[in-house]
């Protein structure tokens, strides 16, 4: 009788114990929307965000993003770099492919050489022209044996470069520098085309299922050399193209993550999302900008370009349209790419007084008035976000200069075709760095869109490309960027951030500066 009062307490105790045991046994299974079907899962050809992120989980290069987000050793365990930064000797660790076959330096060599093979049709061939004789081989001026990639033995790979590349170790951590399994690729050239037992990787996860346009499932690779660090057992990557559906699934508990890097959050829903959830943001090395066609009147006038760039009120656009804690871009190179952060820019955000002065000066130089100035058209590819930003900037330019700018949106490939033919006045563009270095934004690609050229700029970029002194290099690149801002062929608008929602139990998330999602360290924390 006396013990009767203890029974409910004991039951409660048992139930609590049972509950905590249940929550401890939380399956390490992450559910994220992939948003699109990967175009290709061969690392030597994949160039879309979706494929690159899936490949990042299934493959590993000589280097990899570390737990502290700095560069860490991947398949390589050691690297010796020559003083002139032109020779790299990698020592490989005892790592294996997911089928247990050892990874050798020959796998890396064969994979890289195949990218350079004209019959292989890879869009990345020119990216390997930094390697000695790679370009000459492609042009038929050197033999395959003369290319600066040598597997000295199974565990040693020597790479010789055409010129010093201080970011080369970053490069060998990305997609097209991953190895491919030579032992499979030789017998089955179609190994990467679909899911089969021949789809062999060397990353922390391996492909378990690929239902086209429906879902990709990855499971932990037990043969991975650093498998003890990998906590996730399974990653479900359903393919939902509609961002509103993705958000509903997240809210309904069917997904653990919504938004970047694979997808995005619906722009219209951002204010509601901010009220209901904790919107997380992460700065990445990307910039959204408008490009001026400097070869055509009227934007061949530098002062007019500057006037238009200065009149953009970036913070207003960020606060009212984007709402993702983006940073107003007063430089062209995203700040995360510099070792030492840049000081204040030479221009201010939304400097209407200076913009008006420059506009009047430009009109005077061109012998025009604002009434006789030809109509200006702002082009962008069809998208709700680009349209809203363009409308805001159209209004800001009208307020600053009293002129009407025409907006013209076009389907993506039609827009690109006009851009390639330089049939535009002002056009929207944007991009994330291909590799973790300012050169990704400042190289020869700069002139390809706006047709802007500047001898001093080219000289500085060439100097920076061949110097082996990192400080001198950064100094030259910053000076080059100063020239870019001074001439303003591009009006930078904002630096990208990734906005996403994640369930509070998703931990250990690492995203690289270039926007790559690292699954290796991600895990799910105990929750009810």
């Amino acid at each position: 009788m006396k013990l009767n009062f203890l029974i409910p307490i004991l039951l409660l105790g048992f139930s609590c114990q049972k509950g905590s045991e249940a929550s401890k046994k939380i399956p390490q299974e992450l559910r994220m929307n992939l948003h699109g079907e990967p175009l290709c899962l061969d690392p030597r050809k994949a160039n879309d965000v979706t494929s690159i992120n899936v490949l990042g989980a299934c493959f590993e290069g000589l280097m990899r993003l570390g737990e502290d987000r700095s560069l860490a050793f991947g398949v390589a365990k050691e690297v010796k770099v020559s003083e002139d930064l032109k020779t790299y000797i990698f020592s490989l660790r005892n790592a294996t492919w997911s089928d247990g076959v050892p990874i050798t330096a020959f796998d890396f060599m064969d994979s890289w050489l195949s990218i350079l093979d004209p019959s292989f049709a890879s869009e990345f061939a020119h990216e390997l022209f930094i390697i000695k004789n790679a370009k000459a081989y492609r042009e038929g001026k050197a033999t395959k044996e003369e290319i600066g990639i040598k597997a000295i033995d199974n565990q040693t790979l020597e790479v010789q470069l055409e010129y010093p590349i201080p970011y080369f170790l970053d490069l060998v951590s990305i997609g097209y520098f991953y190895p491919v399994p030579s032992h499979i690729a030789k017998s089955n050239p179609l190994w990467a085309k679909k899911y089969s037992k021949d789809f062999v990787g060397n990353g922390p996860f391996k492909l378990a299922e690929w239902q086209h346009y429906n879902e990709i499932t990855l499971i932990k690779n037990e043969a991975y050399w650093d498998k003890d660090k990998v906590k996730l057992q399974k990653i479900y990557l359903p393919i939902i193209q509609d961002v509103s559906t993705e958000l509903s699934m997240y809210e309904n508990g069917e997904l653990d993550w919504a938004g970047a890097p694979f997808s995005s959050l619906p722009l219209d829903a951002i204010p509601t999302i901010i009220k209901k959830h904790t919107l997380e943001t992460f700065p990445v090395a990307g910039v959204y900008y408008y490009v001026f066609n400097v070869q055509k009147h009227p934007f061949n006038n530098r002062h007019l370009r500057m006037a238009f760039a200065l009149a953009i009120q970036r913070q207003t656009i960020i606060d009212n349209i984007l709402q993702g804690k983006q940073e107003p871009a007063l430089w062209f190179v995203p700040p995360v790419l510099w070792k030492e952060k840049r000081e204040n820019s030479t221009f201010k955000d939304g400097d209407l007084i200076e913009a008006k002065k420059l506009f009047n000066l430009a009109l005077k130089e061109m012998g025009k008035t604002k009434e006789t100035l030809e109509p200006i058209t702002l082009s962008y590819n069809t998208s709700e976000g680009h349209h809203k930003i363009a409308q805001a900037i159209q209004q800001q330019w009208k307020e600053a200069f009293g002129i009407d700018v025409k907006l013209e949106n076009k389907e993506w490939k039609v827009f690109l075709d006009e851009l390639n033919k330089h049939e535009f006045q002002v056009a929207r563009l944007g991009g994330i760095a291909s590799y973790n270095d300012p050169m990704s934004f400042l190289d020869e690609g700069v002139s390809s869109r706006s047709l802007w050229t500047n001898k001093a700029y080219t000289k500085l970029i060439e100097k920076a490309a061949i110097t082996s002194d990192p400080k001198r290099r950064e100094y030259d690149l910053k000076n080059a960027e100063d020239l870019l801002i001074e001439d303003m062929p591009y009006a930078p608008i904002y630096f990208y951030t990734y906005s996403y929602l994640k369930k509070p139990y998703v931990k250990g998330v690492k995203i690289s500066n270039t926007g790559h999602f690292e699954f290796k360290y991600t895990y799910l924390e105990t929750h009810d």
Partner: protein
Amino acid sequence: MTKFLLKKCSSLFFSLFLVATLTFFLMHAIPGDPFTQDKAIPEEIMQALKHHYGLDQPLFVQYLHYLKGIVTFDLGPSFKYEGRTVADIITQGFPISLTLGLESLAIAVFLGVTLGTLASFNHLKWQDQMVMFFAVLGVSLPSFIIATFLQYLFSMKLEIFPVARWGTFSQSVLPALSLAMLPAAFIARLTRSNMVEVLQQDYIQTARAKGLNTFQIAIKHVLRNALLPVVSFLGPLTAAILTGSFVIEKIFGIPGLGGWFVQSVVNRDYTVIMGTTLFYSACLMFCVLLVDILYCFIDPRIKKEM
């Protein structure tokens, strides 16, 4: 009948040839190609890519090559989805679109005919007005609005069905309903107006005089005559449901053929554009042919004319 079928089939093949030719040249006329992208690629690399896929050959040579492919049932590889053939894409995507389409067609026909019959037998009464009110709603609301509403109600609030995805029956209910609303509304209106007309015929009065009940009259005498226009509507409707499910497939994350069809145009994936367009055209023409044959069975007068 054989002569009729032969005539129809030969015009079907000729139409397909016209569709293939027009699509091929229109597709090449629009700006951009499969390799146009925002990152600048050196000209030499671009030429190597085009050479690899035969896009550096004169357009007419590419056209002849493509026609040869069609005749030998080889629709070629996708230019964008490495290692996937157009045949792979169709055989994987179409059964899904077909399942979704047939499910929504069944719902549309059942709902439409039932509601239309109900309205006609209660002509100008409150039942008729209710049915017509819902029919107007079904016709005016776009499918994506209905889809979002159904997701909100049945998935988010009532938690009866999953928000999206494909694979189980419960996952197919909401997309099939969203897709069925518009045709159900059309069929209801069509059935109602035809039945109202048939109900005024003398032979219906005779049937009533013979003492047949309303159900027997509806099944034996009214529906058979009133459904002829509905059947003729079913042919293009089936094709429209199969081809027009892209929006619904996108909202519900369904890996059907509609997504590939639209994405191929965005990607300028030439072979997939051609393959899916031809396949959809063949589906449409086949459905129309099927309706023509069905006519013969429903109305023997038409059979005599053939």
